[in-house]
């Protein structure tokens, strides 16, 4: 799996290269600023781009902009965005950029190595990895809304895990219930929220995120 890395802090860039390499990923380019990142993404067309939001030269949202721009030039380019803080606003902008695997995680999540690598692979495979903090912010925003307040606490948990991008098996494992129970919850959720169930895992995730992001 070929990776392009955009991270300006040397300590973190070296750590990520070491980590990704240890899990059989090939870091084909590691850059530390926005313009170079934009070039590297289009030139290398990696299986997944791991990108820090804040990069030189402006130290604002250079990385995010480069990622969104590259997804416009290379449709379906999988991007995993990392940041010291997560904003539902940025998640919305990323989700509205043309399809393909997408991840948006807090930088802290890299300390859970197994899950971080799993997220990188999910995104490379066209899936979604949304940070629990983004999802809980989106859920909190809708907490007072009619259809969402009708969900049971367990259904809300399942909805949140779905929005983070987990498949049924992953949700079952985290909640320590059977996959059959998870499907039953998911059917109830879709009925209550008036969403059409979708067999395609990632389309389902995107539908849930679109619902929460509305």
């Amino acid at each position: 799996m070929r990776v392009v890395l955009g991270e300006d802090l040397t300590l973190l860039r070296d750590g990520l290269i070491r980590l990704l390499t240890a899990y059989d990923m090939d870091v084909v380019a590691a850059v530390d600023n926005g313009p170079e990142l934009a070039r590297a993404l289009v030139e290398h067309r990696p299986d997944v781009a791991v990108v820090d939001v804040r990069l030189p030269p402006t130290f604002t949202d250079e990385g995010l902009k480069a990622a969104i721009q590259a997804r416009a030039e290379v449709p379906g380019l999988p991007v995993l965005v990392l940041s010291q803080h997560v904003e539902p606003l940025y998640a919305r902008e990323l989700l509205s950029s043309a399809g393909g695997g997408l991840g948006y995680l807090l930088k802290d999540r890299v300390s859970d190595v197994r899950r971080f690598i799993e997220a990188a692979r999910t995104v490379a495979g066209g899936g979604t990895a949304m940070d629990p903090d983004v999802v809980s912010a989106l859920m909190a925003r809708h907490a007072r809304d009619e259809p969402l307040s009708c969900l049971t606490p367990r259904e809300r948990e399942v909805l949140a895990l779905m929005a983070e991008g987990h498949a049924n098996a992953g949700i079952a494992a985290r909640l320590v219930v059977t996959e059959k129970a998870v499907s039953k919850h998911i059917n109830n959720i879709f009925t209550k929220l008036n969403l059409y169930p979708d067999d395609d895992g990632n389309r389902r995730v995107l539908a849930v995120l679109a619902y929460l992001n509305a």
Partner: protein, 289 residues
């Protein structure tokens, strides 16, 4: 050419003594030139005095018409002293709070983190299970330290404000609230960082009050810049009756804006709606592209 003396000739061969003096008086009193001289003296002296005082009077009139009055100057100095003292007090209190939060939060977590890693190092060979659980604890500590730092940073200067300016930060703020917020933002550029920060926290406080107290189902924010003033209006369709209480959030906003000569006005009749209007004099720099 000769210019004749304006006076009549002195009587020639005037006798000495009383008769002579009388003759002299008669000559003086009957000469029209004497009366003309007297008239000149009468007019010239006051006119000279008036003309001499004129520049001083003119300065006095000009300063009274053009310069601020003494009273106004004193009031302005008083106002600046008060707002400066409050701003200094508030920022000192803020720094103390940050110091305390860092001390009790992330610093303590990092100490625990180091302790756990050091302990794990010691027992790694003899007791790998204990080492594993210590490392897991250390990782949890680092996560908590980061979460605390994030909260702290948001309170000091929200990253989205640094990245997107007031426009983007208010949009992000609106997305984080549990009620729909209609936005009308029209800013052609960015204000200076301190002004952006003051305006952001003022709007955040007003919106937090909407969520906490108003019982509103909708809120809206209007933000624009005209005639050298940044104007933010936060409104809601709640129950009204809001008033700045001492020690309350709106008083804090008032203090914060006063440091920039900004003002807050709240209209909130019982039954609503509530409107919080904030104005900050400032210039915008052209938008970064």
């Amino acid at each position: 050419m000769r210019i004749a003396t304006p006076y009549r000739p002195r009587p020639a061969g005037a006798a000495d003594g009383l008769a002579g003096r009388l003759e002299c008086c008669r000559w003086l009193l009957t000469d029209p030139a004497t009366w003309r001289d007297l008239l000149w003296s009468l007019i010239n002296v006051p006119a000279g005095v008036v003309l001499g005082l004129m520049p001083m009077a003119q300065a006095e009139v000009a300063s009274s018409l053009l310069a601020p009055t003494r009273g106004e100057m004193a009031a302005r100095v008083g106002q600046l002293t008060v707002s400066r003292t409050r701003a200094v007090d508030a920022s000192a209190a803020e720094l103390r709070r940050i110091e305390r939060d860092l001390h009790d939060g992330p610093q303590a977590r990092l100490v625990a983190l180091g302790l756990n890693i050091g302990f794990a190092e010691q027992v790694l060979r003899d007791n790998p299970d204990l080492a594993l659980s210590l490392l897991a604890e250390a990782r949890a500590s680092s996560g908590q330290a980061l979460a605390e730092l994030r909260t702290l940073v948001r309170g000091i200067h929200p990253p989205v404000l640094a990245e997107r300016g007031l426009d983007g930060a208010v949009r992000a703020l609106a997305l984080s609230l549990p009620l729909p917020v209609d936005l009308r933002i029209d800013l052609a550029g960015r204000a200076s960082a301190p002004v952006e920060s003051a305006a952001y926290f003022a709007i955040a406080e007003a919106l937090a009050n909407v969520v906490k107290h108003s019982g509103a189902t909708r809120a809206w924010v209007q933000l624009d810049h005209a005639a050298g003033r940044l104007v933010a209006i936060v409104g809601d369709n709640g129950t009204g009756g809001a008033a700045p209480r001492s020690g309350g959030g709106l008083r804090g906003v008032e203090r914060r804006l006063a440091a920039f000569d900004g003002v807050v006005a709240v209209t909130s009749p019982a039954g609503g709606p509530t409107l919080v209007t904030m104005e900050l004099p400032c210039e915008l720099s052209s938008a970064r592209t």
